[in-house]
Amino acid sequence: MKANSNFPQKEAISDEQIATSVQKGNLEDFGELVLRYGKKIQNYLFRFIQTKEEVEDLTQDIFLKAYSNILSFNPKKKFTPWLYQIAHNELVNYLRKKHYLSTKFINLDLDILAAKSVSKNDILKDLENNLKFELIDKNLNKLNFKYRQPFVLFFYENLSYQEISDILKIPISTVGTRIKRAKEIIKKSVNNSESFY
């Protein structure tokens, strides 16, 4: 295990190059990945878990898992979806352990069985035109896990439908349908709260 980083000027180096260096045994470079993604992963987890301590513990577990599985990363692919896939799996395991999520063996949701594809651009445009980000943030807790997951990955983490499909292991068309549904729920919730005041 090498202690020194291979990249003195890291800003210009891609995540994939750093991950390749970690695969070769450069431990310090893994630290650079933690610096780059630590806050992102914590923010991602905060959208599902409210306790700071729990988020910090889970973030550590995610990075330790990522380090342990680093040789399964294919440097020809993007690093971000790979890391989020680990984060997603750890999050799901954690929520199941805490009984916040059911441990259904087979998922037979209608949108998994068959779903129409929904355009990514339409959803983004619609969201940006109609909703302010702080309102979306405030109403995120109105979404149940199945809608919140793809919505957070799409809206906050800027991942593509295909990347989200690979992380959640659900059909690409289902990703679109769930994001669209999430947007509708948030919009409805925002409208309700506005009319209340």
Partner: protein, 257 residues
């Protein structure tokens, strides 16, 4: 408002996080898993999927074989009552096993991007089609007849020899015995042919009473199901269906599977 502004402020502790994680790695809390373990996992997954497909092909083709041996596959062609008896006599346990394999296969295959990226219904029907086509092809080979004949000679193939010994031609239910006769054509006559049923009865079949002419001429040795009225040893045929018969001689046992 920018998205960044809405992100939680209390989490700006990444340098500390980095130190903690690196310290844990240096203390040996986690070790990098070998590349071989990931390759092995992939190999086991693919091997599991292939094994399940092969098993499903074998069992489903065995279902087709059972229908062939029982000689009941012509029943749906004689209307609703035939269809009902056909359905009752299907080897449902084997069909259920194939369905269970299909579900397990779907769960295994869901780990492959090519499968989980498609809606479940599509991947399920693609897998079902793959199993159906494979088993129909396997059904056309001599695999099951060979195992079947081995099981009759007390040389059963391992494990499943038991199943082969339990199958044989099945007498139609009593209701059918009054108007359906199955067997092989023993001799062609001026009026029709002589039928030797699977259960040893010799009957004379008259074809002048057929409602529709035969699509192709009959020949000695053909396996047929004759539908009509029986008067003594003469059958006034109304319909003659060619059936598949891979075992010319009647088998003594009449067991169900």
């Amino acid at each position: 408002m920018e998205k960044e502004e809405t992100e939680k402020k209390e989490t700006n502790n990444t340098p500390k996080l980095k130190e903690t994680i690196l310290a844990q790695i240096k203390n040996g809390k986690v070790k990098i898993k070998s590349k071989f373990s990931f390759i092995l996992k992939d190999i086991l997954l693919i091997a599991g999927i292939i094994a399940l497909i092969l098993l499903a092909w074998f069992i489903l083709s065995f279902v087709f074989f059972v229908l062939k041996v029982k000689g009941l596959s012509f029943l749906p062609q004689i209307g609703l009552i035939g269809l009902k008896i056909f359905l009752i006599n299907l080897p449902w346990l084997l069909i259920l096993i194939v369905l269970l394999i299909l579900i397990v296969l779907e769960l295994f295959a869901k780990n492959l991007a090519v499968v989980y990226r498609k809606p479940l219904l599509i991947s399920f029907f693609v897998l079902f089609g793959l199993i159906l086509i494979g088993s129909l092809i396997l059904n056309r080979t001599s695999l099951h007849p060979r195992f079947f004949s081995q099981s009759k000679k007390q040389m059963p193939p391992p494990v499943y020899g038991y199943f082969y010994r339990r199958i044989g031609p099945q007498k139609p239910p009593p209701y059918f015995q009054s108007f359906v006769w199955r067997g092989n054509i023993k001799e062609l006559t001026n009026k029709g042919f002589i039928l030797e049923t699977y259960f040893g009865e010799i009957l004379e079949v008259q074809t002048s009473t057929l409602k529709k002419p035969l699509a192709e001429p009959l020949k000695i040795g053909d396996s047929v199901a004759v539908i009509g009225k029986k008067k003594g040893t003469i059958i006034e045929a109304e319909k003659i269906l060619k059936t598949e018969d891979i075992f010319r001689k009647p088998l003594p046992e009449n067991k169900k599977i």
